[in-house]
Amino acid sequence: MSAPETPYPSHQDRGFAHASEAEFARILDFYEVRWEYEPQVFPILWDLAGSVLESFAPDFYLPDIDLFVEMTTLQQRLVRKKNRKVRRLRELYPGIRIKLFYARDFRALMLKYGRSALVAELSGTVGQVGPRQEAEATLEASPDATIETSPVNGERRSRTARRRAGRKAAAHAAESPTS
């Protein structure tokens, strides 16, 4: 097979927010599907003055098939928030193709590849720990706080922590034996 025009990014090159994202990147690498990690931020909520109140950065973009993928292998109570963001994104940017990858999708993928024993390590609270969960739990409990605390900046701060935690979890999962 001829080499692609753009080199495939390696999952080892990036700090992922969640271990499941690292595993997903590993799968894409394996099948030589090019991907970009959080390449674009879409504003999805503005105030009356036109300032961005909320934005959404899907986890992956697959340029060869023009598809964004958002992973939601978190707890169910946080999935509702992502569903809302994806719905809003589709309303505002109808030309964007995005697939929401739920925990059940991830489990099925792991089952297919005989890695079901790793699902617990790569999902939910084990796969992603740290400040983001606390921040999102707070926002979930108090929706008004989204506007008060400027979620764009808030999300960036927590994402750094997410990546740190995700790197640790991904490294741990990569060292684990396959089932």
Binding site: M1, D29, F30, E32, V33, V69, A108, L111, G114
Partner: protein
């Protein structure tokens, strides 16, 4: 892997009976025969899951044809430890340049393997290349690829039988069934 010695007992539900599969394969064979009338086609089967489907389908196609077999490593297998990339474990045994190729698959779910294989096979300059899959599980699709011939669109469940396995077991079931979660959950 906790499969019992009674393979049938691990199946929660028969999704496609032997009779349903037989009838559908005959129907696909007729369509392929009509579409490729006057041409010679090379059927390429992807080991191991497609083997029963290939064996039955080729006998329902009333055309001069050749067959060939390929096998690629799957993510999560031994190959990932060494290279991290998909590998061709068994390549075609004859050239396909300027030939009509029909890729025969057991199931298409994410489309990742199919996407890889089509790119690989197109690099060998066939005259045409089409895809025939017995099963299509669109709920799991990541890479959208047009499928030329599809036997059955199936729901989002883990299925085994008629070539499809879990941990290399269940391929020899004559039907396609939904595997009980107890058979794969630890």
């Amino acid at each position: 892997m906790k499969h019992s010695h009674d393979l049938h007992a691990d199946v929660a539900e028969v999704l496609l009976s032997e009779d349903q599969i037989r009838a559908k394969v005959a129907e696909l064979g007729q369509r392929i025969t009509a579409d490729y009338a006057g041409s010679e086609v090379t059927l390429v089967s992807v080991l191991k899951g497609s083997l029963p489907f290939m064996a039955d389908l080729m006998r329902q196609i009333d055309l001069p044809l050749r067959i060939d077999l390929m096998e690629v490593s799957s993510y999560g297998g031994a190959a990932i430890e060494s290279s991290g990339l998909v590998r061709i474990l068994k390549d075609l045994s004859a050239p396909i340049d300027d030939r009509h190729v029909l890729l025969v698959e057991d199931i298409i779910d994410t489309g990742l393997t199919l996407n890889y294989l089509l790119r690989y096979l197109r690099g060998k300059n066939p005259r045409s290349i089409k895809v025939c899959s017995l099963l299509d599980k669109p709920a799991r699709r990541l890479v959208e690829i047009p499928l030329d011939y599809v036997g059955f669109e199936i729901p989002d469940a883990f299925v085994v039988g008629y070539g499809l396995d879990y941990g290399e077991v269940y391929r020899n079931l004559r039907f396609v069934g939904v595997l009980r979660p107890e058979a794969y959950e630890s």
